[in-house]
């Protein structure tokens, strides 16, 4: 290939990725050589970089599909809308990072910032790639950056334990993913998703058992990223050990990326049957449904017994992963839209809840549920914002979480065949989740405060809180803004 063909590709479409990459590299150089007076502003530069990438991305709205270098980079509406969530989520997390001016636990704030950026780059590449190799490299970029971010709280014993569990579990999950990919490559002879799906749509013949095994192993490996059963056990330990913004990142951006890669792989590769011929995906739906049911039940039931707030959110996030798997099981025209909306709503409410925990954790030096006792008397602002996030997580009307759950519910019932069992389990799991979400409300409004003094919210802390509250309520009352944006 000569330079001319290389330049004929529309490289401008990669502007968001290039922005993130260049910002990350420049920030690491500033961190190496810059003066201390400049280093202070590294997180602010990162925010500016993400903002710029977001602007570049928004300019691509409605752009026709682009494929660069044999599908190793593709741009389509799917990539656009999910990259939007990834960027918004990371932006909110950076506001969280900015809200704390001095960080005793993580002394290397610079590293922390560009690791977040490189993880974001990995997730964005996963969102816009049509090739197994790029998808895998993006996944690994995300995983490696997250391992390091979790391990960076070196003095904290729990963080060390969490990081160790995370890297070992992650290594096993990567091995699973790669093994499954190798089977799929083996029977199709190509790494390009479009070609694989063409191979899969023709009669599989003797290779069908291998395709089934590859499907299961690949799904099990990718379940690690979305922290659903069977790879969910790392979640509570890692969330508890990692610094709170990192937990928020893992719970929102990393999980969204996991769903992105699952949808890309499974819906494109396995769901292309010839007319009248049952696709491999539809024959394997029972397997995914069982994982969804187990995730919903295990996550929500174990969350009942948690007293550490970050562990509680971790278990509830396992449950939410189960909810988001439902539209993937009940495939219809609405699937992508439902997953997208739920992930967007989930980012706002989860980052918001983590932000409240982050503020309280700094002032009370504790992560126990008792930090919420009598919060309404000590700080009405925090109590009311936490109430909004909890109501949304529980799925009460008027919040984004309700619309998300409702869409999933309707999607699963109207799918063909209707998934009544899944819908039933989802309803049960939601009711169980009320118990522990409302327990926090009781702590905030009824119990007497265990900690002295009023808590105020400073300006920097208010930014992410206001953004998350706005997102949760606006999406809850005017969901059509987001849904129109998607389509």
């Amino acid at each position: 290939m000569d330079l001319k063909t290389l330049l004929s590709f529309e490289w401008g479409m990669m502007a968001p990725e290039f922005t993130i990459l260049i910002v990350a590299v420049i920030l690491s150089l500033i961190d190496l050589f810059g003066k201390d007076s400049i280093k202070k502003y590294i997180p602010s530069f990162a925010v500016a970089g993400i903002g710029l990438a977001l602007i570049f991305l928004l300019f691509q709205y409605g752009h026709e599909e682009v494929s660069i270098l044999y599908d190793t980079y593709i741009f389509d509406s799917f990539a656009f809308s999910f990259k939007f969530i990834l960027l918004i989520g990371t932006l909110l997390i950076f506001f969280m990072v900015l809200s704390k001016q001095k960080d005793e636990e993580i002394t290397d704030r610079g590293e922390y910032v560009y690791l977040l950026l490189s993880a974001l780059l990995g997730t964005m590449m996963m969102a816009s790639s049509g090739d197994l190799i790029t998808l895998f490299v993006g996944l690994e970029l995300l995983s490696l950056s997250s391992y390091i971010m979790v391990a960076m709280r070196k003095r904290n014993k729990r963080a060390n334990e969490g990081a160790m569990k995370y890297i070992i579990n992650g290594g096993i999950a990567t091995a699973f993913t790669l093994f499954g990919m190798s089977y799929i490559y083996g029977i199709s002879g190509t790494t390009k998703l479009v070609d694989i799906s063409r191979e899969m749509s023709s009669a599989l013949g003797t290779t069908e058992p291998i395709a089934t095994v590859g499907f299961i192993i690949l799904f099990v490996g990718l379940a690690f990223k979305i922290s659903s059963v069977p790879f969910h056990m790392w979640t509570p330990d890692v969330y508890e050990g990692a610094a709170t913004p990192v937990s928020a990142f893992l719970s929102v951006v990393s999980k969204a990326a996991g769903f992105v890669i699952i949808i890309r792989l499974f819906v494109t590769i396995f769901n292309t049957g010839v007319e009248g011929n049952e696709t491999l995906y539809s024959s394997m739906i029972g397997f995914v449904a069982i994982l969804a049911i187990l995730s919903m039940l295990i996550g929500n039931i174990i969350a009942l017994r948690q007293r550490n707030m970050k562990r509680l959110i971790a278990y509830s996030s396992i449950g939410h992963a189960g909810y988001i798997l439902i539209p993937i099981v009940s495939l219809s025209a609405m699937t992508l839209e439902n997953v997208w909306f739920y992930l967007l709503a989930y980012s706002f409410m989860t980052i918001g809840a983590f932000m409240v925990i982050y503020i309280l954790e700094q002032s009370e030096k504790s992560e126990d549920i008792s930090i919420f006792t009598g919060l309404f008397q000590r700080s009405p602002v925090l109590a009311i914002s936490m109430t909004i996030f909890l109501l949304s997580l529980a799925g009460i009307p008027g919040t984004a979480g309700f619309i998300g759950k409702f869409n999933i519910f309707v999607g699963a019932i109207s799918a063909d065949p209707a998934q009544y069992i899944l819908v039933g389990v989802m309803a049960v799991a939601t009711v169980i989740s009320y118990l522990y979400y409302f327990n926090i409300l009781i702590q905030m409004f009824i119990r007497q405060p265990e900690f002295e003094g009023r808590r105020t919210v400073n300006k920097m802390q208010a930014v992410p809180l206001i953004a998350c509250i706005t997102g949760t309520i606006v999406l809850g009352i005017f969901p059509f803004i987001a849904l129109n944006f998607f389509s």
């Binding site: 391990a151 003797t206 095994v213």
Partner: protein
């Protein structure tokens, strides 16, 4: 039984043997040597598949570099060999059962596998072809891999360097 099958059986059984030895040996250096045995037999398998370049890379990177790094890691950290006899018979049985089930599943899946015509031109300029593929088709993932390496390097520095308070 053709010569090819014999070589394959030899190489794959030594690869498995290395893995089993690595799990059961007590001293770390012995474990390392067992891993090297696995890596070398895998390289032999790659040669059988006409992937000489991958075999050379396997020997250079895995048997050479990765092993050396592991030796450094062991020598530079405090290491106390502790023998822990923590054998849970129930768990061992369950794991064993899982392995057997997995083996049977995979065996049944691949038993009737038919791939059609065998490729004949695998050995023709294969290193050159890998180069062409990497630098024309897979430029984007290739560049992305360099960022993965950068991240790994930064991570190693961040995690290994002492904090400022430690030096005093």
């Amino acid at each position: 039984m053709s010569g090819e099958v014999i070589v394959f059986l030899l190489l794959s059984s030594t690869a498995i043997l290395g893995g089993i030895l690595m799990l059961n040996l007590k001293k770390v250096i012995h474990m390392l040597l067992a891993v090297v045995l696995t890596f070398l037999s895998l390289a032999g398998l790659y040669v059988m598949l006409s992937a000489e370049f991958v075999a050379a890379v396997q020997i250079l990177i895995y048997s050479g570099a990765v092993t050396i790094v592991m030796i450094f890691g062991i020598m530079l950290t405090k290491h106390q060999a502790k023998e822990e006899k923590n054998k849970n018979p129930l768990r061992t049985t369950l794991v064993g059962l899982g392995i057997v089930v997995f083996f049977v599943t995979i065996y049944l899946a691949i038993r009737n596998l038919y791939f059609g015509q065998e490729a004949t031109a695998l050995h023709v300029n294969n290193t050159e072809q890998i180069g062409i593929k990497i630098f024309s088709y897979y430029v984007i993932p290739f560049e992305l891999v360099s960022i993965v390496l950068l991240v790994a390097l930064m991570g190693a520095v961040v995690l290994a360097k002492g904090e400022e308070g430690d030096e005093k």
